[in-house]
């Protein structure tokens, strides 16, 4: 029972007047406009990235911004630099658990909020917005104080010595990111086609089955969007991370901001370029893999990462 079939069964399909030939003069123009707008926007988004990548090959020994010739030395330096390696590792091991947790918590909460009364929903909404409204430096400092005092209390009551480190950073990041996912999933849920759900129930599907085959696929784009954004925020965060980190849990942004005082060298550009290359490579490999798998299982080829991300 596919979604389109149910939709038709529930009478949602629009009635199309037969054989109406409307000459839409503007169709081409509008289409062209959207394409141009998208292309320009992506160019805008990637322009600084291109600059960053180009500068990674800068042979200068001092200021990043003066071109001194083509060189790979910064890549060598970056690969050998233990501090950068540690920072990058920390960044990943913080951003990924944070993304999973935030996505899980946020999606669950969005679903849960469908089932409660107005007042609880209102309470939750207030909290969600508060977590976004509170300026970073304020929540960072207050969280530090909370942790520090709690750790002291826990140590004197239970003798258990908790430390600042990756876990405290993850905990702090998950707060904001949960709200992010929550809002995204709820935006998706609101106005979602209830008739599909009702129809499914009428057809005696169990709640779990309804969820799995109707609701979840429709939610998936929002969930994945939430995951991506949560990862991005955590990976790039500076203020909160500065305050709740401990020895050895410096992340890449901390390293880079710290470098600012002495002058940011092309080493950071090299790191960024390598990450970019890695990500694009993974994307490419992932695409190939899915295509190969589809061919192997005999289904129609052409399932792309695109389709995985968007529809089910």
């Amino acid at each position: 029972m596919t979604a389109p079939a149910v939709a038709r069964a529930a009478g949602r399909g629009a009635r199309r007047p037969a054989a109406r030939q409307r000459v839409d003069r503007w169709a081409g123009v509008v289409e062209g406009y959207f394409r141009l707008h998208a292309a320009l926007t992506y160019a805008f988004l990637f322009l600084p990235i291109i600059v960053v990548v180009v500068l990674a090959f800068n042979a200068t020994t001092k200021a990043t911004t003066v071109w001194g010739g083509f060189s790979l030395r910064w890549f060598q330096i970056a690969l050998a630099d233990e501090v950068v390696r540690d920072a990058l590792t920390n960044s990943f091991w913080i951003a990924i658990p944070n993304a999973f947790m935030a996505t899980a918590f946020g999606t669950m909460a969005a679903l849960g909020l469908q089932r409660v009364g107005r007042r609880i929903r209102l309470g939750f909404d207030v909290l969600t917005y508060m977590s976004i409204i509170v300026p970073e430096i304020v929540i960072a400092l207050a969280t530090l104080i909370l942790f520090a005092t709690s750790f002291d209390a826990i140590q004197s009551w239970f003798g258990l010595k908790l430390k600042f480190g990756r876990e405290t950073i993850i905990a702090a990041h998950v707060l904001f990111n949960t709200s992010l996912v929550l809002l995204l999933v709820r935006a998706r849920l609101s106005g979602m086609d209830r008739t599909l759900v009702d129809a499914s129930a009428d057809l005696f599907a169990t709640p779990w089955r309804t969820f799995r085959q109707i609701t979840w696929p429709q939610l998936l784009p929002a969930v994945i969007a939430g995951f991506l954004l949560s990862f991005t925020f955590s990976f790039d965060d500076f203020v909160i991370t500065t305050f709740v980190s401990g020895p050895g849990s410096s992340t890449l942004p901390l390293f880079i901001f710290g470098q600012v005082k002495r002058g940011v060298t092309p080493e950071t550009n090299a790191v960024a370029t390598m990450m970019l290359a890695f990500t694009l490579a993974m994307l490419f490999v992932g695409q190939l893999f899915l295509g190969w798998q589809a061919r192997r299982s005999g289904r129609r080829a052409g399932i792309s990462i695109g389709e995985m991300v968007t529809d089910a």
């Binding site: 001092k62 200021a63 911004t65 003066v66 501090v83 409660v116 007042r119 609880i120 309470g123 400092l141 530090l144 104080i145 909370l146 942790f147 520090a148 005092t149 709690s150 750790f151 002291d152 209390a153 004197s156 009551w157 430390k163 600042f164 500065t242 305050f243 980190s245 401990g246 020895p247 050895g248 410096s250 901390l254 390293f255 901001f257 710290g258 470098q259 600012v260 005082k261 002495r262 002058g263």
Partner: protein, 406 residues
């Protein structure tokens, strides 16, 4: 009977989340309020404001000897730990020296974490962050840190190389007995300029003012640092750079608001670059950029204005709950070995307070008056003080920043 039960259960089910949520929230809020009240987020003495059970360990000196409790006891010398946790400005120790230290004392892990301002360091310490052995605050913040119990008293018998330090950096107001800090390096605040972009070379703060309002209007950058910017009007008017006198600050305010519309930028990180690429002709700043961003600028100049200025001193401190005190002592002594200090200076291009090291420093650096100001210039310099408590200064600073848009 069963119907009553069912009604009760039904009502329970309906309000279940509500009530539980409320109790949970109430309990947690109460706990949070208690935590807030107990937190020694400031300088109030630990004994007075914290209940016994939740006392943050500020007055206890953790060490390998279990009997140590008083703030004045020194960690006894013992085996040097295999790790050292350093909390410092970015790239502020020569890598060669780090390797040399590790090799000499068998330390395998030299953790180097970064902060980008004294304010962040202090905020973290005041918020309760722990876990580091050594930090490098600027001297004016040391008294406050000592008062709040963030810093251990030093056992000078374990630091023989302290004898190498120039006496003019000892016994200063921030640490009269040199019990808590070891000088690291020093520098000055002054005027940077590009000779080809301005008609006359500034020699005083007055000249500086004329240039800002005249030929260098729209081409001047100040560093984004309250304490340093106030030096300009206060010294120009003949007052102390650390003044907190209401009338004097009022006069300084007039000067600052007067120049604000003429400034190109307020920037501590990129002002060197702006000077180097010609966007700025004049800056109020420090000497570091002269050998970094402006290294290839042929017409650069730096002057400590004739009315006087401040010098800053970065220091090493041993943090109160240092987990590796023996390694820390080893490092603090090691860093003032003459050859090691000379290497630091060659790396950092900031003046070393270590007399024995000076002969070993790269002669070009030694001869640079920006790095090693001659004695007559040094006489013009005041040590900077922590004036962040003064609300009038903060208000003027905010007003100044708001006038920058022009």
């Amino acid at each position: 009977m069963s119907e009553d039960l069912e009604t009760t259960l039904r009502r329970m089910t309906e309000t279940k989340v509500n009530r539980r949520g409320f109790l949970y929230a109430a309990g947690l809020t109460g706990a949070a309020a208690a935590i807030a009240a107990c937190s020694t987020g400031g300088g109030s003495s630990p004994a007075a404001s914290t209940p016994a059970s939740a006392a943050p360990a500020t007055s206890d000196v953790p060490s390998s000897a279990p009997s140590a409790a008083a703030a004045d006891s020194f960690p006894p010398a013992g085996e040097i730990e295999k790790e050292l946790f350093m909390y410092n400005w970015s790239e502020y120790i020569s890598l060669a020296n780090i390797e040399a230290f590790k090799a000499k004392y068998g330390v395998t892990k030299f953790q180097y974490d970064i902060y980008d301002s004294n304010d962040v360091l202090l905020a973290k310490l005041q918020g309760g962050a722990t876990g580091y052995d050594i930090a490098a605050p600027t001297a004016e913040y040391v008294p406050g840190m000592v008062e709040q119990g963030f810093v251990q008293k030093l056992d000078k018998s374990r630091l023989p190389n302290l004898a190498n330090i120039d006496p003019k950096f000892k016994g200063l107001w921030w640490d009269p007995n040199d019990d808590y800090q070891i000088p690291k390096d020093f520098g000055t605040t002054g005027v940077l300029y590009r000779t080809t972009m301005i008609p006359t070379v500034p020699k005083s703060w007055k000249d500086f003012l004329e240039l800002i309002k005249g030929p260098a209007s729209g081409k001047t950058v100040f560093v984004d640092s309250m304490g340093d910017v106030f030096v300009f009007p206060l010294k120009m008017l003949g007052f102390s750079a650390n003044s907190v006198d209401k009338a004097e600050l009022d006069q300084a305010r007039t000067v600052l608001l007067d120049v604000a519309p003429h400034l190109l930028a307020l920037d501590s990180n990129k002002y060197g670059e702006k000077m180097a690429n010609g966007e700025a002709a004049l800056s109020l700043g420090w000497t570091g950029v002269l050998t970094q961003d402006m290294a290839d600028t042929p017409d650069k100049g730096y002057v400590v204005p004739s009315e006087g200025s401040i010098f800053w001193l970065d220091t090493w401190v041993l943090l109160a709950d240092a987990p590796h005190p023996n390694a820390a002592y080893a490092f603090l002594d090691f860093i003032h070995t003459p050859e090691i200090q000379a290497e630091e200076t060659n790396y950092n291009n900031y003046g070393t307070p270590n007399d024995k090291a000076k002969p070993l420093v790269d002669p070009k650096v030694l001869a640079d008056p920006a790095v090693f100001p001659p004695d007559e210039v040094f006489a013009l310099l005041e040590g900077s003080k922590d004036t962040s408590a003064n609300t009038q200064r903060t208000d003027i600073w905010e007003e100044f920043k708001q006038k920058l848009g022009g």
